[in-house]
Symmetry: D2
Subunit: 136 residues, 4 copies
Amino acid sequence: MIFEKRVDFFDTDLMQVTHHANYIRWFEIARIEFLRSIGITLDEIMQDGYLFPIRQVEAKFQNPSHFDEILQIEVIPTALTAAKMEFEYKITRKDPDKTRVIVSGKSQNVFTNIQTGKISKLPDKYVSKFKKVFEE
Amino acid sequence: MIFEKRVDFFDTDLMQVTHHANYIRWFEIARIEFLRSIGITLDEIMQDGYLFPIRQVEAKFQNPSHFDEILQIEVIPTALTAAKMEFEYKITRKDPDKTRVIVSGKSQNVFTNIQTGKISKLPDKYVSKFKKVFEE
Amino acid sequence: MIFEKRVDFFDTDLMQVTHHANYIRWFEIARIEFLRSIGITLDEIMQDGYLFPIRQVEAKFQNPSHFDEILQIEVIPTALTAAKMEFEYKITRKDPDKTRVIVSGKSQNVFTNIQTGKISKLPDKYVSKFKKVFEE
Amino acid sequence: MIFEKRVDFFDTDLMQVTHHANYIRWFEIARIEFLRSIGITLDEIMQDGYLFPIRQVEAKFQNPSHFDEILQIEVIPTALTAAKMEFEYKITRKDPDKTRVIVSGKSQNVFTNIQTGKISKLPDKYVSKFKKVFEE
């Protein structure tokens, strides 16, 4: 799945490029959009009594991006189970002449029980949607 | 009360100055530090069942500030009652050769009941601390 | 002109609503989108040797917004001259059942010469585009 | 070197914990403070014609932190050469009863020539300061 994001003015820093911490935020938007595309919202997960803390993130910043550029954020699920979600990300420019990778990365989230804070398995209604992703 | 804040790298934008929305965040730090200085924390207010939504903010951006500069954020309470808090702010550089005002502004917060969301009066233990501020 | 913006996860705070400083950032996105809609980009203004520092912003936070809600940010130019831009903003939810105003506000930017830092008039090619806005 | 940082209100998200992307920003503050402690500022590096883009960051989010908590950000240089800087980070709470690790991570920055954008070696005056760090 590919999600588009324009670099906003406030995303830049004094080096006149996108500040790197923003890409970590955009990874988050991308995985939320991915879940929405398979019929899952974080609101529903929370209403069912679960949270989804992030445990790990990694990013390689390969080329800069700039104000007003439209980026394409590709998000690829690499593991989706009752206990965790893992994704990989690849950010490029939309402009076809500029195909170099801007940022690549990956992340891991776990599911926890909202009351106990402990790692906890998501109900089947979510897991069945996860399974479909890998069957397709 | 004066609160010091260094301009961080990620606070700047491609004009190589502090992005203006950060000053609005620093107004918030300043009022929280002011409350702490008179013995009130937001955690205690929330545990007592109240929230403190902001209703209004205004800022005049008079001069730019830059990466690594240390700013002094002066916060002046102009109204502190059981129902609302109003503050004025004046941000200058710490460096004594640079005394021009960077930003001036003001804000209004109200107190609401955490259950009903409606405007609600804070208990006396807070109001008595507020009164002392204006007696001194 | 109306610009749509979804409330991202990282836009929220522990009160479980959109943190107020984000609206100030979204005012900026809205005015940049407005300029784009009349054929002006900030990159072109900078390449022509001008900056556009913000001088004033005001916001009234009337109702909260929440994670995942789609907001509509209406931006209305109230002054557009060779020397300054003034806008008003009104943010509502897209959801038709929720028509209450979330935030209203206004801002003023001036144009300055990138070399001298002094207030400076934009070239006619911009001013003619500004004039068209008010003629229509 | 240990740098202290209070969790600000706007650093939290609707899970009522610090949003993870902020830790990536605080890694940056920590390495800038480390450089300052050995007599190097980013401003000086830029005035000498060099930039210091980040190439890689990794973080493990082990425990949550909360509004108003004071964190200690330990920054450990693992490589400091004319061509790159590598650091490791460990974030804990200052409160002595709460010694669990909040976040651990690492980063790599390279030095580039401000004109060419290419990787470039820093002058000796910086490298000699780097060497002292590992001699001590």
